[in-house]
Symmetry: C2
Subunit: 143 residues, 2 copies
DNA sequence: AAAATAATATGATAAAAATCATTTTGGGCT
DNA sequence: AGCCCAAAATGATTTTTATCATATTATTTT
């Protein structure tokens, strides 16, 4: 469904959303361990996310990664778009050039609606929304 | 969403469902071209499908691949299970061991239902169903 | 200004997926 | 029986994804 990298990225962002703030930055080594992802790997992913404005960071002593208001309000789909590429979730399920809503391939025909729904949900839910569901106890970690 | 291999496999099976029968077998080279997949590659995939009873074949002169009644009535999901592995579509979207229906991870919580729906559709629709949709003109190729 | 710290950039290695090529086996034909 | 055809089996290569390691740059503290 999603790539390993995307899963890692989501876990990291979720962790930051729950445990960081402008005044409470967290270093890679303190992220990689709790979310169970190799440090060098998650570092690289985080950098991409920072570049795209989904995560914030400052370097030097007392530096680290964190989520500010703006970051927290980004939609979940942005992470997937950045890490896996935008088309991953939208292009034809048989990779047919000519497949579209009007002339769908057989697979598109039967599971187009489900896919649309996934897209919708990912476009509507922001990162805080997920974090909040954990805080409220409707969703669970550990990462 | 699906792996390249799965897409290829579905295309091949669909092609066979539309163009073959017990009395009209078709050779790999005559499949690979129309579905636009390298011959050696699709040959390998077809062999796996034959082994699992989703496709039929006979070798020697006048031999080739084909779909019989039984093959045509297999559900689409079987192809995915065989090529990508059963868990690909069912396991946690964050790869968390402890994620399940009762204690879902945040992602599971928001797009579990969509996924369930995809599973349902793939479990209900058989290969002929897809072929039929093409014959009736509600779905379209070319592959 | 220098030293220490932590992200950033770059790139090397490893593992998995996709692609390609060769040999072997079984079934029909003469 | 021997020959030919086409799938089956095996495995080599290439590409992509995942993982790891090192050097560089920015910031803070002394």
């Amino acid at each position: 469904m999603f790539s390993n990298s995307s899963k890692y990225a989501i876990k990291a962002v979720l962790y930051l959303s729950l445990h960081s703030s402008e005044s409470r930055k967290v270093m890679v080594k303190d992220i990689s361990n709790p979310i169970n992802v190799p440090q060098a790997y998650i570092a690289k992913l985080l950098q991409e996310l920072v570049k795209e404005g989904v995560v914030s960071s400052t370097r030097g002593p007392k530096g680290g990664f964190f989520m500010n208001e703006h970051n927290n309000n980004e939609k979940v789909i942005r992470i997937l778009d950045i890490i896996d590429g935008e088309k991953k979730l939208t292009n034809c399920m048989l990779s047919l050039e000519s497949c579209n809503e009007d002339k769908p391939c057989p697979l598109h025909a039967i599971l187009g609606p489900s896919r649309q729904n996934i897209l919708k949900v990912l476009n509507e839910n922001s990162i805080v929304d997920l974090a909040l569901s954990v805080r409220k106890g409707t969703a669970f970690l550990p990462l």
